[in-house]
Symmetry: C2
Subunit: 534 residues, 2 copies
């Protein structure tokens, strides 16, 4: 069963390896496990619903707790402690697209605001009801999840927007196809959510971001439906799909989505190489990204992340053997791990593998035949489970990410890590921060930083620590001119930083769009755009 106060299924609870515990103790000091609130305690605090009865709307306390938050660190803090929660007044599960229009009308009638809910995996506050005078109706799309049509000639599949990653891939696999979208949230996140937040999957290098997959669909808005036809391309004015991509529930609710699919690949494997230092590793990764070689993934860890990954994996003997071998090849303490994916028809994969080997060798890289690539693939969706376990050990883990052009990658990465490492100086606390580059493009890449710090004495104090870190890192991104999000979206947490990147005129344009589709301000207020219709 799905956890109500943390990531994933109850049955999955990986232990923190001893080596990891020792490592964090040394870096940050001992962790103090917090006392969590029970579901019973939290349920007892849910106030009466302000919405009237409706056959499509559940108003019981248990349901309202389960849809109160997403999966950000502030969400985890609130759910574990039971503090600071705001509950939706009702949760609806439409079964047909027409139900969505009915529910928007119901919300309008009762002056409610609407939170569209896919898998609830947001790490930026997309699904959190705001406290306020208006009741909140959360509309979950989970029952709109069928494979509706598959056009094999055009390689287009249409699904109900609430379909989760594993169900979508299973339905396509049965017909010989794949979408190829594998964000870390894959187990629970949904197709509609991917589109609404401009999601990017781990194999974006082969399959593209969700923008490249999203061919068309239907958005139900307070002013009626917007139909987006699945043209392969068009010069007929601005592309309306691009308004829906990243609209984060502000314009309406996607009920069906047409995506471009691919035949299942003949071959797929993930390989590993180490570089002697960051400069050679960074240059090799850029060269591969710009080579046009048909790789399916590139993921490069800094020396700190490489060291952290090898330590937390908890296989000290195997790691020592690997390090001894690498030392003979000139790769020592500043080593950087590159994982790369090879996916596709056999001859394409061979061509990609040759290019990769050539570029890696030209940059002093050493390819290693360890299970690291396989282990990454096997554990690719597991990191959020470890967050649960580390919480129990008294440590908070969060991630943040951005993207910038190659000429600015190093300075942006350093600015973010510096802001995080010094971010709790005022509290006398240390922060462990480490980074990888993934989602590479010819013109730049994403920068993904993980940071770990100790839980404080209570939830409010832990939240203050997080706010200090998140604020310092976000300001560093703005200062460096990098985007506030490459893949997590804006939500509530990044909304204050959006005007710096869109400009005053750009913000006016986005507000004008929300006014057009949602003149009464029903849809997800406070998400994406702060404040009301400006």
């Amino acid at each position: 069963m799905k956890r109500w106060n943390g990531w994933g299924d109850h049955a999955t609870h990986p232990p923190v390896p001893d080596a990891a515990r020792t490592f964090l103790h040394q870096l940050l000091g001992p962790g103090h496990p917090p006392r969590d609130a029970t579901l019973h305690e939290v349920t007892a605090r849910v106030p009466a619903s302000r919405l009237p009865e409706h056959p499509l709307v559940q108003r019981d306390a248990d349901t309202r707790v389960r849809y109160a938050r997403g999966q950000s660190l502030p969400d985890l803090i609130a759910l574990r402690s039971g503090e600071g929660l705001v509950f939706p007044d009702g949760v609806a599960h439409p079964e047909r697209p027409e139900d969505v229009q009915t529910l928007l009308q119901y919300a309008h009638t009762h002056a409610a605001t609407v939170v569209p809910y896919g898998g609830g995996t947001s790490v930026a506050g997309h699904v959190n009801p705001a406290a306020g005078a208006r009741p909140v109706l959360t509309i979950s799309l989970e029952r709109l999840s069928a494979l509706l049509t598959l056009d094999e000639a055009s390689r287009l599949a249409t699904f109900g927007a609430g379909v989760r990653g594993p169900d979508l891939e299973a339905a396509l696999r049965a017909q010989g196809y794949t979408l190829g979208h594998f964000p870390q949230s894959f187990e629970y996140s949904t197709l509609g959510g991917w589109v609404a937040t401009r999601s990017s999957g781990q194999q974006s290098l082969r399959y593209g971001r969700i923008e490249a997959m999203f061919a068309g669909g239907t958005l139900i808005t307070p002013r009626g439906p917007l139909t987006l036809p699945p043209y392969p391309a068009s010069a007929a004015g601005p592309d309306l799909r691009q308004l829906v991509l990243g609209s984060e529930g502000r314009l309406g609710i996607l009920t069906d989505v047409t995506v471009r699919v691919h035949p299942l690949p003949d071959t797929e494997r993930f390989e590993a190489a180490f570089f002697p230092d960051w400069a050679s590793a960074h240059d090799a990764t850029r060269a591969l990204a710009q080579s046009g070689a048909p790789l399916s993934m590139l993921r490069l860890s800094t020396p700190t992340e490489t060291h952290t990954t090898l330590t937390l994996a908890g296989h000290p003997r195997a790691t020592r053997a690997l390090e001894t071998y690498l030392a003979t090849r000139g790769v020592r303490s500043d080593k950087c791990l590159l994982l790369y994916g090879l996916t596709g028809p056999r001859d394409t994969v061979q061509h990609a593998a040759h290019t990769a080997a050539r570029v890696i060798a030209a940059h002093q890289g050493v390819r290693v035949y360890t299970p690291l690539g396989r282990a990454w693939h096997k554990g690719r969706f597991a990191a959020p489970y470890l967050r649960n376990s580390l919480w129990d050990a008294g440590y908070a883990v969060d991630t943040l990410e951005t993207a910038t052009t190659w000429d600015r990658v190093d300075r942006t990465l350093n600015a973010v890590e510096h802001a995080l490492r010094r971010g709790l100086d005022a509290y006398g606390e240390r922060v462990h921060a480490y980074t990888h580059l993934s989602h590479v493009y010819p013109s730049g890449c994403s920068i993904y930083t993980t940071y770990v710090f100790r839980l404080a004495e209570d939830a409010a104090a832990t939240l203050r620590r997080w706010s200090a870190l998140k604020g310092a890192a976000s300001e560093a991104l703005v200062r460096e001119g990098a985007t506030i999000s490459h893949q997590h979206g804006v939500g509530r947490d990044h909304a204050p930083y959006l005007p710096a990147e869109k400009g005053a005129l750009g913000m006016s344009a986005l507000h004008a769009l929300t006014r057009t589709f949602d003149p009464d301000g029903l849809m997800n207020p406070g998400v994406l755009l702060e404040g009301d219709h400006a």
Copy 2:
């Protein structure tokens, strides 16, 4: 010197081969060359300018004639006859981005509307001033054309938006790079125009559409500048670049544009194959488009276009020899010509060539070692010159284009050709129509149809013939659910058909954007969106 009343340079005037003349005579009847108006006659009819003097604005009659029209067939009819022309009241050539803001202020002060002008190559009425009470200021970007920066690490180049294709490629080639954008209008069209109209070049299969190249830039609007940073990717809400792409001068004027560039390819060649019939040719083209093979172009002609191309080329002896050879391989009168491009690093090209050979053979295709591919490459920008010559012979040529998904390609193609072939029945005139597919995608392709008909006794009657044909074909596209334009844009000619594809709500969104950037309705009214701020 550039022609004032037709395509291209005066010095280039290809003769119509005898074979072509005979062919058209047989199909359509004899052509009757029209009498053209002289520049002197047209200049004498230019009314006094309604704009006051300004150091940046030219108001002489000669200049105003040269900026009155683009390159559509109605534009040619108007310029050749001197009838139905509306002239801008002034033409400005800003030399700095600040001049553009100054000129928008000047236009606002004098209640003028503004036509942004790149290369004047529009075939859909983008640059035509409308008759009306308000004076019209045309702003030509041609002096904003420098290479401003080249970031080799990120492979990003920033140009003044008015740079023309050949100058852009020359500036990049000097540094070892190419953009790879080669629309048929390449000689005169500009970077800013490509972005504003969502242009697509002949090698879009390798380099992508302009959407994929456009990384960022500056749009000067009546409400000030909008700066678009060149992020490699972002999940920070809707992508504002996508509002500018296809905005056709309604939101503002691009002054600088940052594009993603590529190293010059090691290798480039264009090859040819013939298929015995349309079904096998179509299936092979789809299979190649979906194979992921790194080809740089695919262009497939129907049997009618294949026959027309071989006849108009005017090499009857070489054609007969080719046809004799093809007949021995089972390829006869329904033959279809496929041209394909191989561009890139040597090993990538080899990989692509192998895949192409395999797929072509699997579909009964016959590769031929004729100069057809080379001839296509050499003459790739020449077709518009032939239009001038055919006009002089008494024939009008126009093209129209769309895109749709693979499952609908055949029926859409047939519907358009049928509408054109029967379109002048009421006039007792025949129409020769033929089609190729180019710009292929995994989910569909563009459909590009050329149609030829006889000029009527006067300009008004010729324009009526064109209107009948254009209307019938456009209505067919709407009925078939295909986009009204894959690469030419909307302009004035396609604007009536846009609501069918964007929907009422989509149109409201586009109007809301124009109101945001241009509250007083200065910018290119009537282009893209018919009517005023709805």
